[in-house]
Symmetry: C2
Amino acid sequence: MPLDFIICPRSEKLAAALQTKIDQKTKPLGALGQLEALALQIGACQNSLTPSLNKPCIIIFAGDHGIVESGVSAYPQAVTAQMVANFLAGGAAISVFAKQHKLELLIVDAGVNADLAGLQGLIDAKIGKGTRNFLSQPAMTADDCKKALQASAALVLQQYNNGCNCIGLGEMGIGNTSSAALLIHCLTAIPLAQCVGRGTGLNDDQLQNKLTVLQQALNQHKGITGPLDILATFGGFEMAMMVGAYLKAAELGMLIMVDGFIAGAALLVACKLYPQVLDYCVFSHVSGEQGHQALLNQFNARALLNLDLRLGEGSGIALAYPLLQSAVAFLNEMATFAEAGVDS
Amino acid sequence: MPLDFIICPRSEKLAAALQTKIDQKTKPLGALGQLEALALQIGACQNSLTPSLNKPCIIIFAGDHGIVESGVSAYPQAVTAQMVANFLAGGAAISVFAKQHKLELLIVDAGVNADLAGLQGLIDAKIGKGTRNFLSQPAMTADDCKKALQASAALVLQQYNNGCNCIGLGEMGIGNTSSAALLIHCLTAIPLAQCVGRGTGLNDDQLQNKLTVLQQALNQHKGITGPLDILATFGGFEMAMMVGAYLKAAELGMLIMVDGFIAGAALLVACKLYPQVLDYCVFSHVSGEQGHQALLNQFNARALLNLDLRLGEGSGIALAYPLLQSAVAFLNEMATFAEAGVDS
């Protein structure tokens, strides 16, 4: 299943000029720390000395997971659909934070196990009513996986054509920390036990059961290789859509805001296909979910926030977004030593 | 010199009710991490289940330091006055970030070594044209120290009377990491060498000189004790004003946003006088300046951001402020499980 994305590394043409511009601002060299690296990255991604964040948006992909019947989550599967309604009604954390920062919020039914046709504002891209239980068979067919990639790529293109140059991807899917743990384990050298966390709040016994179930699933599918096969075998429809969205956003040179554990697992798949995707990624936070820091290390990434968030939904993205605005603002608006008449 | 502030510990009457309210929101228990503790603190400080941040402001106190003549800073003393003009003109980092988050910004001449009468918008509270060099004599008299405390307390009261319930304190003062290092060393068990950092960017030799100078100053003033005597001996006018402002804000039950290294050293003085001040403090960031993490440990504080900032001006406060807004917003605006019809 070859993919036809064309992703160029980010331009470094302006890197030196951006650094000079940063260094001329009225502050000691490097005194804005990580914000300076962020400003440089955004400028380079946009190939501009005066970058801007236009029509920023977060797309939340929602999907259900067959593995939930094996008791890997503290919440029932019905919560996925209920939370989709909550997103649309404005009652979820991401609804509140997106409104705070004027981030457009798109909610996509990637494969929720419920009939959601009546929900106004929902984008219907349903591939199926949840994935199959990967304890016995691959979560989705290769064909459905490809459909998911294409559907989300089309959505991202639409946002881009509307003037958006800065996109974040969130997710909702009861059970999806299990999928994410398997993707991370299969695509890195990180031992399974280090990839498996408490998700929405498992106790010790439940955590042990989750680990046992996931180990069985691995044994069942021994020998699968290749990021897309691994994605189809253990992933979810919402995660496959995230992969397609990352790839399309990078192809279009958009700035990509990365959320936490699930979002990171999907990004890992995207990076195994096209490593250049990372050039466009800003990592919003270190999640409280076990395994996320190890995953960030795989990306050589330093996240902006570390607040023990473990909610998903793109909530970490929304909370970190004002820091991106600050990076752009200081680059564009601060006075230079010369302009301000300050000795340098 | 007895002080007459009356600072009550923050009310814990509503703590349980606040926690219940947080736990009923549509998210796994604890999934908003540090933001949940922040919401609880803000609610408790305001003794309200529906707290709000009203007319938030940052006051920047500027002052000069006699010790600068001993070569402890990478920048000349003139930069203090030049940066004050830059704050007022809107060209500094804090100007940009305060504008971004609609934070009122007050600039106070606490004791700059220049005639600033012509600067429009500047609040004149000048105690003197910079402190004396504490290598030979105390930086300020006990009387001037008290004047500084009173002047800033009056300013905070004025903001409070204008409807402000959330205040941050910033500073500008070439040489003031030297003062801060001595205050921290004298008021804690932290060795001097661990309190002395590169400030605005000293090289290795300059850092060694700074340490030598500060060790000499300590020898010169052997035996001084008591937070106010230590403040008068090694502090700056801007730092003395910060101490008075912290104390008054806590007395008034305002939420206090704490910046980095200098701000933390001034807070240490305030806490040695009235430990209850800490109840009202939110720590905005871990500074890149050596010694700041050790200082935060003294407060048992966990800061919101860790971005290697080392700029002062209240810049860390402004960058962290949207997280305070997010904490209040989720507490007030998120739906409960019952309201949203989500299984809990």
